[in-house]
């Protein structure tokens, strides 16, 4: 129903009987949702409840144009609810009302007949209060006296402000009569309205009816009405006796106005209520409400509480908005921290907007503390990888993997004996993935993986360890055979495998044997390894060894005759590592003898003609030469043997 423009605060005659209700209504109109919510106005029929409801509506709109305000009688509310149910549009109906900023609901005493609507109203009032929307209700009796009203609804309605409209006293009645006469442009003889006010009803509507009758009579009579004449006209001849009984037939069901014994306590209570309403600053109430709300949600509100203690009014909207913003930031930070470490999210720093900076710093530290998993060695590229018949298929698979990570072959399982270039290939794939845009590529040996897990177990931050690897865009694990017998590592590897495979991340494994030959490794892992592409790296053949020698010599800036290269390539070597060993030894011979790289010097170096001391020196010179010291370890062991054994091993190769 539309608001009636006649019902505004300016047109409401205020007297002691309705001052409290009017003050409360004005307070609500000034700041809907914050002053008294819900506001419940009750009083007998014809005392101005509907007028106040409309006035609140107009007042709110005047204060904030375009504010959604809805006035409904309970009957309309029920009707719309039923229509919405019938149309299957209950949600839309509810949403519509919940989005209303000021809902004015008249005649709620009829709720007694609608049990289902009580639940709906309870739900609605909870939703509106939560959102800070204003609910104003009127009834002819207080909530507790509305028959069969749900206890919860009673307590909710009584939880805001309950104000009653009492029957107007003589002065108010007179003021109403005068205003109505003025509105109609009728002047009555002195004493006429006083006489009517004295004898008239306490019902404002009836008073209006009396003015109407008097004005109608005066319009047709020649002589102006006298006070006695008015009394006679309205209440019969014997005005004194008949006044109370002769209430107009318009509202025959009204109880006659009677003098009630003075209720001193009630008067005291209403005086106190007025004082409180005047004294309690609205802004403090708003801040207080915010304090309650945020405390309820577990946030510290020291900042807001501090404002309550100061006298001066802050910019409440700004203060609340900034607090709200900080809370949202804290929530986001807590969520971020929770993703990194679930235990960290519950920390008190995420519950105190005054510790926002600290919370931010904490999350940053958490992020920084999350060291990325070991990355591939940058120097090992696919382009440096010598390709030959023995590894051609494998390298092709590696290139495809690098080209389409996570989709082509996952996992890629590279099997091959020690030293054939698995590690190089693994790191090369890793580097190719990095070059292809992968942010985090984990590339490490199984031993490092196991030790990392053990350290995390000892430190009690396995979760953090898991996240470290699960963030990876690709996971490449060397020497998988080493996880044999390590049950927990296998569990973690299994879970990591699933998480990454699920997220279509690339997985590459290398081992010295085929998956099926991995004894001590759980079948669930083995089958997963076999589920991708399993490729084998064989020992390098002679042309490959030749290319390797050339590349290794070139890498050291040494030019060699073909016969030297051929000699080195012809030496028995079952792996790339062995070829590298040969080249290193040849180079060391050149380095120590300061001679040229000839077949003779190389042969001397490799076939062992030099005295042991100089050879030992040569090895110590090898280590700082920039080559990976681990690559020379095998040769070092060999050189430590007696000369005869050395020769024997060399010949056996």
């Amino acid at each position: 129903m539309d608001l009636n423009p006649r019902f505004r605060f300016a047109a409401f005659v205020v007297g002691p009987s309705n001052r409290l209700a009017c003050t409360a209504a004005q307070a609500v109109a000034q700041s809907p949702g914050s002053a008294y919510n819900p506001l419940f106005i009750y009083g007998r029929s014809g005392l101005g409840k509907t007028h106040l409801l409309h006035a609140i509506g107009f007042g709110s709109i005047e204060r904030q144009a375009g504010l959604p305000v809805v006035y409904l009688t309970l009957e309309e509310f029920v009707g719309q609810y039923h229509a919405a149910v019938a149309a299957g549009a209950l949600d839309a109906f509810r949403r519509g009302l919940e989005e209303t900023h000021v809902l004015l609901l008249d005649d709620v005493q009829f709720l007694a007949k609608h049990r289902e609507m009580q639940a709906e109203l309870l739900r609605l009032s909870e939703a509106m209060q939560r959102e800070g929307r204003q609910l104003v209700l009127s009834s002819d009796r207080p909530p507790a006296e509305i028959g069969e009203l749900d206890e919860r609804l009673i307590s909710r309605l009584a939880g805001g402000l309950l104000v009653d409209l009492a029957a107007p006293d003589f002065e108010t009645r007179l003021a109403i009569l005068r205003r109505k006469a003025d509105e109609r442009g009728i002047a009555f003889a002195p004493g006429v309205l006083e006489a009517v006010a004295e004898a008239g009803s306490g019902n404002v509507r009836e008073l209006v009816g009396l003015v109407n009758r008097l004005s109608a009579f005066q319009a047709v009579s020649e002589a102006p009405l006298t006070p006695a004449g008015a009394r006679a006209l309205l209440f019969g001849d014997d005005a004194d006796g008949a006044a109370a009984a002769a209430t107009p037939p318009a509202a025959p069901d009204l109880p006659p106005l009677r003098e009630t014994p003075p209720d001193e306590f009630a008067a005291f209570l209403s005086a106190v209520t007025r004082t409180v309403a005047q004294s309690v600053d609205a802004w403090k109430s708003r801040i207080g409400e915010a304090v309650m709300r945020w405390q309820g949600e577990g946030f510290r509100t020291t900042r807001l509480e501090g404002l309550l203690q100061q006298g001066a009014m802050p910019d409440v909207d700004e203060v609340l908005q900034s607090f709200d913003d900080d809370v949202q930031t804290l929530r986001a930070l807590a969520a971020e921290a929770g993703a990194l470490d679930p235990a960290a999210a519950g920390h008190a720093r995420f519950r105190d907007p005054d510790r926002l900076a600290e919370a931010r710093g904490f999350v940053q530290k958490l992020q920084e503390g999350l060291v990325p998993p070991p990355a591939p060695i940058a120097t090992l590229g696919l382009d440096d990888y010598v390709v030959g018949a023995a590894n051609e298929a494998v390298v092709r698979a590696a290139r495809l993997v690098a080209h389409e990570p996570g989709r082509r072959y996952t996992p890629l399982f590279i099997a091959g004996p020690s030293g054939v270039g698995k590690t190089h290939l693994l790191h090369a794939i890793g580097n190719a993935l990095v070059a292809g845009g992968a942010q985090i590529v984990a590339c490490l040996g199984a031993q490092a993986f196991i030790e990392d897990l053990l350290a995390a177990l000892e430190a009690g931050n396995v979760e953090s360890w898991r996240r470290r690897y699960r963030r990876a865009d690709a996971f490449l694990l060397d020497d998988v055979q080493l996880v044999a017998g390590k049950e927990q590592t296998q569990d973690e590897l299994f879970n990591l495998f699933n998480v990454l495979a699920e997220a279509e991340k690339q997985l590459v494994f290398a081992a010295d044997r085929l998956p099926a030959q991995l004894s001590g490794v759980a079948a669930r892992l083995v089958t997963r390894f076999e589920g991708g592409l399993v490729v084998e790296l064989a020992a390098p053949d002679r042309p490959m060894r030749e290319r390797m020698v050339r590349r290794l010599l070139a890498a050291q800036g040494v030019s060699a005759e073909d016969d030297v290269v051929e000699y080195l390539a012809a030496r028995p070597a079952d792996s790339a590592r062995a070829v590298q060993g040969l080249v290193n030894r040849a180079l060391s011979a050149v380095g120590s003898a300061e001679g040229e790289l000839t077949v003779a010097t190389v042969r001397t170096a490799i076939e062992g003609r030099a005295p042991r001391a100089s050879q030992a020196q040569a090895i110590s010179a090898l280590i700082p030469s920039g080559l990976d010291p681990t690559l020379g370890s095998r040769e070092k062991l060999v050189w430590d043997w007696p000369e005869i054994g050395d020769r024997l091993v060399e010949d056996l190769r």
Partner: protein, 203 residues
């Protein structure tokens, strides 16, 4: 001193009825007790001697229910008027938010009234409170007695009300002026709310 707690939405205030012995402080509370609806009043605690003189203090809590969304409670106390109970008076005055000074209107009680008023000021000062900032009203009780026995309101104002506080003639036994007095002191106390208060109870 804090009366209103915006976070728990509670208003609690403590009003002390002060005055010389037999001026009618307990009678005030008894009348109020009789008028408060059953569901609003707590048990009135009265520690009295055999001759019905207040031995320690009377205490009447009144629950005013929810006002403007605040759970509002008023606690009324009386002090023993007799001179030798000053320690008790001081104790009861502690943390009070407002005072009703109940004076005995009888001519022969004037000195006791003045003495009690001075005692009140001294005790309030001992609590570190400037008496001028403490909400206070005067009640001239027993105004129903024959005029020849009592001082008029004007005379009592002249003698006691040098601070020009609000004063109310009363007949506490029959209730006249009792609620007017309570209303006035409550209003003064509650108006002080706007001066800024929050947090826990006063000490």
């Amino acid at each position: 001193m804090s009366l209103v707690n915006f976070t728990t939405r509670e208003i609690t205030c403590k009003i002390v009825y002060y005055g010389p012995g037999r001026s009618g402080k307990t009678t005030n509370l008894q009348y109020i007790y009789g008028q408060v609806p059953e569901d609003r009043k707590g048990r009135m605690v009265s520690l009295a001697t055999q001759t019905d003189r207040t031995l320690f203090f009377d205490f009447l809590p009144i629950d005013l229910g929810s006002i403007s969304g605040f759970t509002t409670k008023i606690q009324l106390y009386t002090v023993p008027g007799q001179v030798y109970y000053n320690a008790t008076r001081k104790l009861v005055l502690q943390g009070s938010d407002g005072v009703v000074f109940v004076a005995d209107s009888q001519v022969r009680q004037l000195d006791e009234n003045i003495e009690s008023l001075q005692n009140l000021q001294a005790n309030v000062l001992e609590h570190g409170i400037d008496v001028r900032t403490l909400p206070m009203v005067l009640q001239y009780n027993k105004q129903d007695l024959p005029p020849e026995l009592i001082l008029s309101v004007a005379e009592l104002d002249e003698a006691l009300n040098f601070r020009e506080l609000r004063s109310f003639p009363a007949d506490a036994l029959h209730g006249a002026g009792v609620f007017e007095t309570l209303k006035a002191v409550s209003a003064d106390v509650l108006r002080k709310l706007s001066e800024g208060s929050q947090g826990g109870r006063r000490g």
